[in-house]
């Protein structure tokens, strides 16, 4: 099991630890509900250093990115980032990722899921027919997400970069907590605002940044947040989790990711996806809210009123900010409309739920 630069801090803080994607990660510190509320109302810090980062460089880097990703990276100028996915040959998804444009037409950073680092690296490498320079900097890159409505205000004290005016999905490189060359990005996986900071883990940088973030934020109620709350936070906002809501066998169109699938350029499985778009998908990823008492969870089956199987739950939880149980699920398209009644098979019972518009938390 690998450690992140912050593993010892998590253990010292008494976090409940568990293996995630091969890393020893904090699941929770004080409890999911408390951590969730901290991020929604104030600010919290996530260690997400397990995520993967690749640098692609050279005159053909953009061309390679265009061919392997579904979104249009040609629209990116330096300082802009873009959510995208890597389609496979069958129109499924190898991974979802964020593409950062470090230097237009010359240098890009791809941020991928920890569990897919090797798979993505091999996939992109296999398409690298024109000698694009590729570097896997995952192991030496520290990544903290500082999220919540107060995150920007607190962190402004630690940098000269103008965080307040840093627009969603843009980033700047600067000094943060005395560490140089930090990428400060207005992105995140919580839907509550904030920043993500990427920097090289060397010369005690990680410890310095961690200590500074808590020196400034700690007295104001900023707390460390585990992966448990990360999941409830993203689910309330309807953000997909790779391995649950999207995978090798789900298409971006089925998953509601048509907005990152641009047919104005050529990319892997474009033809398949274009045909799928024209004909319409057979199933869709939807949000459901429980009406009966029960919590839908990953893998539970969905049924219609007659008990016929019509889909399955991909992610589910009790939603701390909403006080009700919610889930994302694939259902046959006939049941995908808002207000459609479905039944979740929770062990031996069929519990009523209704299809709702995402995000669950507006």
């Amino acid at each position: 099991m690998k450690n992140t630069p912050f593993t010892q801090q998590h253990i010292a803080l008494g976090a409940k630890m568990a293996e995630f994607a091969g890393y020893n990660m904090p699941i929770s510190y004080t409890g999911i509900n408390d951590e969730h509320a901290t991020v929604r109302n104030n600010a919290g810090v996530f260690d997400v250093s397990h995520m993967g980062e690749f640098i692609l460089k050279g005159p053909k880097a953009l061309d390679l990115i265009q061919r392997v990703t579904s979104n249009d990276a040609a629209k990116l100028t330096a300082g802009k980032a873009q959510y995208s996915c890597l389609p496979n040959e069958e129109g499924g998804i190898v991974d979802d990722l964020i593409v950062y444009c470090l230097e237009e037409n010359a240098s890009y950073m791809l941020v991928v899921n920890a569990s897919n680092i090797e798979k993505d690296w091999n996939w992109i490498s296999s398409h690298n027919t024109e000698g694009v320079e590729m570097h896997n900097i995952s192991d030496k890159t520290a990544l903290l997400a500082i999220q919540g409505p107060k995150a920007v205000e607190y962190m402004q004290e630690l940098t000269d970069v103008d965080l307040v005016n840093l627009k969603y999905y843009t980033f700047a490189k600067g000094t943060f907590a005395g560490v140089d060359n930090v990428i400060i990005s207005a992105t995140g996986y919580t839907g509550s605002g904030g920043i993500e900071i990427y920097f090289e883990d060397k010369d005690g940088n990680a410890q310095k940044v961690w200590e500074e973030v808590f020196r400034i934020g700690g007295p104001k109620g900023l707390k460390p947040i585990g992966l448990g709350a990360r999941d409830t936070l993203r689910l309330e906002k309807g953000f997909c989790l790779y391995g649950n809501d999207i995978d090798d066998a789900t298409s971006p169109l089925e998953a509601g990711l048509g907005w990152i699938t641009k047919f104005t350029k050529d990319f892997t499985a474009k033809d398949i996806l274009e045909k799928q778009k024209a004909e319409g998908v057979q199933r869709k990823l939807v949000g459901i809210e429980m009406e009966d008492k029960g919590i839908p969870r990953h893998g539970y089956k969905l049924q219609d009123a007659e008990g016929r199987e019509i889909g399955y739950v991909t992610s589910g939880t009790q939603a701390p900010s909403l006080g009700k149980a919610i889930a994302m699920a694939y259902v046959e398209k006939a049941f995908a409309g808002e207000g459609s009644e479905v039944w979740v098979s929770v062990r031996d019972k069929a519990l009523k739920a209704v299809v709702v518009k995402m995000p669950f938390l507006k």
Partner: protein, 125 residues
């Protein structure tokens, strides 16, 4: 963690307090920590006579669900009605207000065969 000496424990992380032939059953401090924030406790077996090891209900936490196993055979006589309004009491006070059921034990001697506090602590330590 706290494992009171006057209770008996199971490998499935329930505790038992025997008084005469009536037992009070709940889940341990270790169990509530592992589950995290508990959302509700579902027990629909009141009035039923079940065997040791039978599932008598389930606990839903934010991230996970877990079955509840009857520590010894007997008849379930009461469910803690306080849990429906305050499921978090299982997290906050697992040996007190977070108790789950009372049961009439078929054979009180069965309780003696369960783990004592020291043995249970060794199991989860």
């Amino acid at each position: 963690m706290n494992f009171p000496e006057n209770l008996k424990y199971t490998k499935e992380h329930e505790w038992v307090l025997l008084e005469g032939d009536t037992a009070t059953v709940g889940i341990t401090e270790f169990a509530q920590r592992e589950l995290g924030d508990i959302v509700y406790v579902e027990i629909e077996t009141v009035g039923q006579a079940l065997n040791a090891g039978d599932v008598f209900g389930s606990v839903e936490a934010v991230k996970t669900v877990s079955d509840l196993y009857l520590p010894v055979g007997g008849k379930i006589t009461e469910v803690n009605s306080g849990l429906s309004g305050a499921p978090e009491s299982v997290n906050q006070d697992p040996y007190g207000s977070g108790w789950m059921i009372k049961m009439q034990v078929s054979n009180p001697a069965d309780v003696e065969t369960l783990l004592d506090a020291k043995a249970y602590e060794a199991l989860v330590g």
